[in-house]
């Protein structure tokens, strides 16, 4: 009989296999396996190793914490792969958290299938073995949820969430959900409508999250000054991502970037639907009902409405997918057709965009107007419809 332990062993072996193949591909094949971002992290870590700022590396737009973590990459020879191994371990630990957070009442077979969605997922394995740091973030997020839901530790959960927010800002969208969730878990401080949602637990949670974020940001601000704030945070608000990516706003951003004057357009207000849906509406409906499914929908909506979207962002919501599938009726036999249709729609709409992106990127064909624009809209609307179906599937 296969158990989750066996799945974990296979997951480790698969990661080692992918990692070794990556080393081979990098050495012998013209197209390299290692992600460009890994080179950026490694260069930034080298600057840190030499006592300099990681921001000397062009396009390093992350917390210095990441470059500090990867300093061993600069110790020479085999140490260069240290970061990849760290990402692979983080990716496995994320998988363990996913398993721990699955409902306890599901069948063993379902448990195996759901844990495999992350642990044996070639996309997940490829992303971490190519050297993307997303798995470090996913460990932080999942640890935060684990300590909140399985250990009832407000302090540890808040610290992990604070760390995650420092690491990549977007996990801040989980805070309203958690505070709403906690509003049921303690005695209200004041019995006035709305204000009665506040209790000692939610205040404590908010306090430790804010303190963790502030402490880390303060530390790095003292160390690196304004360039830390600019590259880690401010840049992401002012950037004009004109280079093609999945986002529905992308082609519009390209055209906007070419205008002589700065004009207000739909992209200027992109944060409104994104904020309204992922940070207010979904938490209001799901925080008390099903926190982790709510996280899944929040993240999926956040990524769908984001001004930048690459395939690495899919990892952000994939960590919640196994749990969500344990709760949705789309995984049941009765609704299996719909579930398969949703999966196919996601794949086909994404594939249509990839087709036009390939034409542009590697064949040099102009696909901005008829290809990328409409395929990104197709992908966006597909995602929106899929979110609506997911909402329905949890609530019926």
């Amino acid at each position: 009989m296969i158990s989750t332990f066996h799945i974990q062993i296979i997951a480790i072996l698969l990661r080692i296999g992918f990692f070794l193949f990556g080393l081979y591909q990098d050495k012998y094949l013209p197209v390299k396996y290692t992600d460009i971002d890994y080179l950026v992290f490694s260069d930034a870590a080298r600057f840190v190793y030499e006592g300099q700022s990681p921001y000397l590396r062009e396009t390093y737009r992350y917390t210095p914490l990441l470059s500090w973590l990867l300093v061993p990459n600069s110790w020479g020879e085999y140490w260069y792969s240290f970061g990849k191994i760290l990402f692979m371990i983080s990716d496995l630990v994320t998988g363990l958290f996913i398993v721990k957070l699955l409902p306890r009442n599901i069948s063993k077979n379902k448990m195996l299938v759901l844990s495999s969605i992350w642990l044996l997922n070639p996309m997940v394995i490829t992303i971490s073995t190519r050297g993307s740091s997303e798995s470090v973030l996913t460990v932080m997020i999942m640890a935060s949820i684990y300590f909140l839901l399985r250990r009832d530790s407000i302090f540890l959960s808040a610290v992990w969430l604070g760390l995650a927010i420092h690491f990549k800002l977007y996990p801040i969208i989980y805070l309203p959900s958690i505070l709403l969730y906690l509003s049921n878990k303690g005695k209200p401080l004041v019995n006035i409508p709305l204000v009665k949602l506040v209790n000692m637990k939610s205040i404590t949670y908010l306090f430790f999250t804010v303190v963790t974020v502030a402490a880390l940001n303060g530390l790095f601000y003292i160390h690196y000054g304004y360039e830390f704030l600019y590259h880690s945070y401010l840049y992401h608000f002012i950037r004009l991502d004109h280079r093609h990516n999945f986002s529905v706003y992308n082609v519009c951003l390209y055209y906007k970037s070419a205008l002589a004057e700065n004009v207000s357009n739909i992209e200027s207000f992109a944060f409104i639907p994104q904020f309204l849906i992922s940070t207010i509406a979904i938490p209001l409906v799901f925080a008390k009902k099903d926190l982790i499914s709510g996280f899944f929908l929040q993240t999926l909506a956040f990524v769908t409405f984001n001004k930048v979207m690459t395939s690495q962002y899919f990892i952000w919501y994939l960590i919640f997918l196994p749990y969500f599938l344990s709760r949705t009726n789309l995984a049941s036999k009765k609704h299996a057709r719909k579930g398969i249709f949703i999966l196919l729609l996601w794949i086909v709409s994404q594939g249509s965009w990839l087709y036009f992106a390939f034409q542009l990127e590697f064949l040099g064909k102009n696909t901005f107007d008829s290809g990328l624009l409409y395929s990104s809209i197709f992908f966006f609307l597909s995602n929106c419809w899929i979110i609506s179906q997911f909402v329905d599937s949890i609530c019926t």
Partner: protein, 460 residues
């Protein structure tokens, strides 16, 4: 007033039947059948009123080349094809002075070359600011007041040096395959040389030029034609191995491929001490050089001047582009691949791609030599404190052994761009976002309504 020195280089091994006339008033020469002369006019203007308005400009050097004289063994116009401008300021202390300086330079280049070069377009080079364009703007020589010279041509190959202390030196190179006559002109000092390389006693490190020197001037002596023979130790030397460069298209990631016609080995002339192979290229700002990932195999990056931004579209980059120099130790490969990335181009509904012209790379051995003090004794030496592209990055004891491109003068990269307009794209995107938001909000409202109905039922 100015002085003129015209050097006529005869590429053949004899001057027989070349000189048609050489007297007090005229020097006439005719190239042999199917042959030609390379002619360099050098004008020295001690005081030029044309530059007096530009008092914040200390030095200016404009070098333009189309690299069309591979046979040139005497003059050196081997530069990134197009125009190269170098400038240094003087008396610039405040920010206002700086603005004024860049304003003066813009105005000066506008007059001379009819181009607009703004403050943000410059990059740094050794001792000077640098601007390059692969296009070939024509120099308006009228500003130099040299029109009195009958030999003055409209040539694409020129080298103009201005120094606020010493005036202007203007050199131009061109070829002629028809008879050439230079006459005495009153009020103008002309020195004309006709030379060929005496192959029997020349080597690459010691080029012996023999021929005639003719002087025309107001106080010229009765004897104005002199036989001449002199040695030069050239800074620029040539390797017979041809090279070919072209772009291998790969969408937004073109590859600049250069192959050598045969195996390359370092020069072994008697004065040579140590050599390395170098690869110099002036990159158009539409092309991105990623210094972290795109260094050719076996190379070390020596110089990367210009924009370091790896993401900006072409229309957001101020600098003209990048000046890149690689060094190869113990080079033995048959080719060099330089991976590039193209920047996004401005949308336009006229075409669906932009043609980017880029100068060919200059590939050479840089060698340290003995008796380097002889290098700048050559009347044809080009090394100055500013300018010369790659020249300025090397010490004075360096000589350059150039590989010559077999064909072509530049490479072309096609970069696709959008052909629609902002308003229509914005409208389409807005409609999509509104529909998408409505789909989700409607489902959430429905879910919320269903939940409250359910909880009410439970209460009942």
């Amino acid at each position: 007033m100015f002085r003129q020195r015209t050097t006529i280089f005869n590429p053949l091994s004899t001057h027989d039947n070349v000189v048609q006339k050489a007297d007090q008033a005229e020097f006439a020469v005719q190239p042999a059948e199917n042959s030609f002369f390379l002619v360099e006019n050098k004008y020295t203007v001690s005081q030029s009123s044309a530059f007096s308005k530009f008092d914040l400009v200390k030095q200016l050097r404009i070098q333009s080349s189309d690299n069309s004289f591979p046979e040139d063994r005497v003059f050196n116009y081997r530069l990134s094809e197009g125009v190269n401008v170098y400038v240094t300021p003087q008396h610039v202390k405040t920010d206002e002075d700086k603005q004024e300086f860049f304003g003066q330079v813009r105005s000066l280049l506008n007059k001379l070359l009819d181009i607009e070069v703004n403050k943000e377009n410059w990059t740094k080079s050794v001792n000077a600011l640098h601007f390059h364009s692969a296009e070939r703007p024509r120099l308006d020589v009228s500003i130099l007041n040299l029109e009195k010279s009958s030999e003055l041509k409209d040539s694409i190959n020129f080298d103009l040096s201005y120094n606020s202390g010493s005036g202007v030196v203007f050199k131009q190179l061109y070829s002629v395959d028809s008879p050439l006559s230079i006459r005495k002109q009153n009020g103008l000092y002309k020195e004309i040389g006709l030379f060929l390389v005496d192959e029997q006693i020349s080597s690459k490190d010691d080029v012996v030029l023999s021929g005639l020197r003719v002087v025309f001037g107001d106080d010229q002596e009765e004897e104005n034609v002199f036989k001449t023979l002199f040695h030069t130790k050239p800074r620029h030397r040539y390797i017979d191995t041809g090279i070919d460069s072209h772009i291998e298209e790969n969408g937004l990631h073109p590859l600049l491929h250069t192959s050598f016609a045969q195996e390359v080995t370092p020069p072994e002339d008697s004065d040579v001490q140590e050599c390395n192979l170098y690869y110099y290229v002036s990159l158009n700002k539409s092309l991105i050089f990623d210094e972290f990932q795109s260094i050719p195999n076996g190379a070390k990056l020596v110089v990367n001047q210009g924009s370091r931004d790896l993401e900006l579209p072409e229309y957001k980059v101020g600098e003209w582009g990048n000046e890149v120099l690689f060094e190869f130790a113990n080079f033995s490969a048959p080719s060099i691949d330089f991976p590039l990335h193209s920047r996004y181009q401005k949308p336009s509904n006229e075409t669906d791609s932009t043609e980017i012209y880029n100068s060919l790379p200059l590939i050479f051995y840089g060698c340290s030599v003995r008796d380097d003090y002889l290098l700048d004794k050559s009347p044809f030496d080009t090394k100055q404190t500013i300018g010369g592209n790659y020249e300025s990055y090397f010490t004075n004891d360096t000589v350059f052994y150039h590989f010559t491109h077999n064909s072509g003068s530049s490479v072309v990269v096609n970069v696709p761009h959008g052909t629609s307009d902002f308003d229509s794209v914005n409208t389409i995107t807005t409609i999509a976002v509104v529909i998408g938001s409505a789909i989700i909000l409607f489902s959430l409202l429905k879910a919320s309504f269903r939940s409250s109905t359910l909880s009410e039922k439970k209460k009942q």
